[in-house]
Amino acid sequence: MATLLTAETPVIVQGITGREGSFHAEQMQLMGTRLVGGVSPGKGGTTFLAAPVFNSAKEAVCQTGATASGIFVPPAFAADAIMEAAAAGITLIVCITEGIPIQDMIKVKDFLKAYPEAKLVGPNCPGVLTPGAGKIGIIPQRFSSPGPVGIVSRSGTLTYETMAALTAAGLGQSTIVGIGGDPVLGLSFSDVIGLFEQDPATTHLAVIGEIGGSDEERAAELLGRGSRLKTVAFISGRTAPEGKRMGHAGAIVSGNRGTAKSKEEAFRSAGVAVAETTAEIVELLTKS
């Protein structure tokens, strides 16, 4: 999908010399991602994987012209790294880090209002992968193959499972976007579906949601207003128990939305097929 990541997109990795960052930067490079540099404060001037390392994102952008960044820094510093990337002019920010305090992310979302051109994917997500072009993040490329199916998902492992099942069935993918499992996220399902709608390489779509929030319900509404994509939705957490809730505040905000039932019903009433297992996602996508 040309709108997020192509083989030409110049990518940096923030936290490139850390253990997570260095391992995955190499995986990204092996897949053909155009890795133009990395950020690791205090290590500026060195090189890593033949790419220059800078002390700040601003310096990296100035020197390399990078437009995308993968963030692999620890949770206490990740919110700052996201804001640093946006302020440096990065337009695709993919934050892999898990465990960022929620109040930090709420501040980040407010900060990003000043950078409308910056798209944030995640945090706590597996990232973005375009088969045959590259990836930012940790999605294992060996399960992917190029083709017409877009995947947008809140879960990491279920995404890999779905990719693998599609690939095994001979159905390749256009782009895989893991939007992340945190309550406060960058791109929503609806945002990513909008991108897929504009991508001529994508004709099919798998939406993998889970209980909580109402991003799925909103996506269903969007798809119900008309879509050129053949879409299948899957919601995990159908059997998760209710009733351990403490206060009323959550219910006042979200009402009856958020349950697997509410999400599945929203998709069905929008005319979107709902799969009960990941294997069924493939069956329903191939059914004419």
Binding site: I106, S236, A249, I252
Partner: protein, 419 residues
């Protein structure tokens, strides 16, 4: 360039970047609630009422005088000191009033009797470990005040209503306009004029002088404690016109616990509840107890929830949710198995590991070792995929562990074996 150099210097002063070990140690504590107990993927520490009230008091919010009682004698003593009291079960779930967990006591002997009834009772899966005896209030009016994270707005929302009390959810449903809402700027918090407007919107203009500072105090729980939800319901207007917190709920973000040690140290160990969940927490596992007989281990919250769904679809019932995260390291698997096998209801275990970069043969060897170390005899079905998955499955088979080709097949197998 001068600007750049200054930025670099600042960076040099910042703490060194963490290693993978610290990163994964932190990851272990996250995702706790992803099992969906309350549809939140952010792990939260839920304080009991008396703990939440201590925090409110530390924020200078008025609370009624109260005493914690672990025995009927202590409850009687509290009543002797405070006069008529409400004896309230302390559990980290809502709905205790309707479950009989709150009783009014006029005399010490009443209070002892109430405590005898309430301590040890089960409220929605939680055994009541203690009661809170609180001086009865002269209630003229019940308001609602709270904040939480509005996931859709990706922001904190402050809510105030003149219609507080037990039926606030119904109020929200039937007359949403009677709840005034404000999304404060997260960098500077709510401003006076915004709160003034909120109070008038809620139709509570007569209390504006008391409410504005009180809401500000409650909001301090966000910057000072990384609170994600706080609720005072009812916020009582007494006969004398004073505002007092009649009840209190407070949840803090466990992702912020590295910078919020105080509450964690004070209350983290006190939260009593399901014994397996308590044990799992000690072992840094993401675990939620359920009612069934099939123990579940998965890597990744989504996959884990999907596995629960498949077990149910195959006609079984899951005994737990347990997400061991990426990597599926042998010691983590062993920890998870240890906790699951503590539960006598468990008749078999299903492990669903989808390894991206994780090597299937390593995972298989770790599983065999964990099973042998624990001398596990119950049926065990493992669904394994990832690098070297064929070798992994061969190792499992050699060691008498049933491999499943897909999650669905594995779910059907374990349900059959535990019937």
């Amino acid at each position: 360039m001068a600007e750049l150099a200054a930025v670099c210097q600042l960076w040099l002063l910042s703490p060194p970047f963490w290693t993978l070990d610290t990163l994964s140690a932190m990851n272990n504590v996250s995702d706790v609630q992803k099992a969906g107990a309350e549809y939140s993927s952010q792990p939260a520490m839920k304080l009991l009422e008396y703990q939440a009230k201590e925090v409110l008091a530390s924020l200078a919010i008025p609370i009624p005088p109260g005493r914690v009682a672990r025995t009927p004698e202590e409850a009687a003593q509290a009543c002797a000191e405070l006069g008529p009291v409400a004896v309230k079960a302390q559990v980290p779930v809502g709905g205790r009033g309707k479950a009989g967990g709150i009783k009014l006591a006029q005399s010490p002997s009443d209070a002892a009797a109430a405590a005898r009834q309430i301590i040890g009772m089960d409220i929605r899966g939680h055994r009541v470990p203690l009661v809170y005896c609180e001086a009865a209030l002269d209630i003229a009016r019940e308001l609602y005040l709270g904040f939480t994270v509005d996931r859709d707005a990706r922001a904190n929302i402050l809510m105030l209503s003149a219609m507080g009390g037990m039926d606030i959810e119904q109020v929200a449903d039937e007359s949403p306009d009677s709840i005034a809402r404000l999304y404060p700027n997260p960098w500077r918090g709510p401003l006076d004029f915004e709160l003034n407007q909120l109070v008038y919107e809620a139709g509570l203009g007569e209390h504006v002088r008391a409410l504005v500072p009180l809401i500000k105090k409650l909001y301090r729980a966000i910057p000072e404690h990384d609170a994600v939800t706080a609720e005072i319901n009812p916020l009582v207007v007494t006969g004398e016109g004073r505002l007092v917190a009649g009840d209190a709920k407070l949840e803090t973000d466990e992702n912020a616990s590295p910078r919020q040690r105080a509450l964690e140290e004070r209350y983290g160990g006190v939260v009593e509840g399901d014994p397996y969940e308590v044990e799992a927490k000690k072992r840094n596992l993401t675990y939620v107890s359920l009612d069934g007989e099939v123990g579940i281990i998965g890597n990744g919250a989504g996959l884990c929830m999907g596995t629960l769904d498949m077990v149910q679809r195959a006609g079984g019932r899951a005994a737990n949710f347990c997400d061991i995260g990426g990597g599926a390291r042998a010691e983590v698997v062993e920890n998870a198995l240890t906790v699951i096998l503590m539960n006598p209801k468990v008749r078999g275990v299903l492990i669903n590991v989808f390894g991206g970069i994780t090597r299937g043969d390593e995972v298989a060897r770790g599983l065999v070792q964990a099973r042998d170390n624990l001398r596990m005899t119950l049926p065990l079905v493992v669904r394994l995929s990832g690098t070297n998955e064929e070798e992994g499955r061969a190792i499992l088979k050699e060691n008498g562990i049933e491999p499943g080709a897909s999650g669905w097949e594995a779910a059907q197998k374990i349900v059959e074996m535990t019937r």
